[in-house]
Symmetry: C2
Amino acid sequence: MTVTETETTDTSADICAGPPQGNRRPDGADRYTISEVAALTGLTAHTLRWYERIGLMPHIDRSHTGQRRYSNRDLDWLALVGKLRLTGMPVADMVRYAELVRAGDHTYTERFELLKETREDVLARIAELQGTLAVLDRKISFYADAGRALASERTR
Amino acid sequence: MTVTETETTDTSADICAGPPQGNRRPDGADRYTISEVAALTGLTAHTLRWYERIGLMPHIDRSHTGQRRYSNRDLDWLALVGKLRLTGMPVADMVRYAELVRAGDHTYTERFELLKETREDVLARIAELQGTLAVLDRKISFYADAGRALASERTR
DNA sequence: TAGGACCCTGGAGTGCACTCCAAGCAAGCA
DNA sequence: TGCTTGCTTGGAGTGCACTCCAGGGTCCTA
């Protein structure tokens, strides 16, 4: 049995994926230029090349003249990277994950652990934000009350 | 009527305030040194001085020899700043808010708007994170299934 | 009154995640 | 054939949020 990242192909369950990365080409005809991928992902061409340089991308296929040709699979990987980036995960950690994927099946457990840790981080982050939301809501209602008091002062 | 930030004194409703900023001194005896505030807030003394330099803090009281003496009110402000920082609000925006507070009552509406915008940002951020959580959960269960398959393969 | 811990300042340095640049090659079109 | 547009590279530059340093003053305790 082989544990690969092919499952990233399933993006059907994605909720609120940033910029709509709609018009994909069917598998087999999926050879996107860097600027097409930039448009599709919302990243700049600069950033895409940089991701590759630091090892965050698998080796991208090239045209006969050396230009990058991205596949649907590369797009899936970028979608995952985008999600992980949203969690605030440092790029270095994402590179580590990419290395594990490249290294093959024996890194399976480590990947699993990394994902579970990330999940915990995300839950903690959500809790933090909800705490902040509570503070914000108290302040907002304070200002709203003050606003009403000010208004009634004017009409008095 | 005066709309000040005295309401920040009420921290009773704070949920999950980062490092427990418990042992405060009673109002009137609240003259903390910079290192005490550092311990209380989890910020470094460097960062506290830097916050002051960029205008993120009100003017901090000084001892007769020029050393900073923070008050409970300063601590409250720092708690709010900490919350806003958690939302990912840029420091420049927090400085803007601080300026509005310093400027007085006539900035009331602007502050209100800023808080409401921030609230929207936080809600959007939470939604994003929940989207990421969904992706993470799918991947995690994929790995868990793969793990079970691998295990049953071994016992076969 | 000596020593060590703490505090002050302006300015320089750090780490991260991009972001841009210069110089050159390649493809499509008038 | 020239022009425009897009792609290539290594390396340098940017903006943010700290983080640290040098050189000096202050506080407290023995």
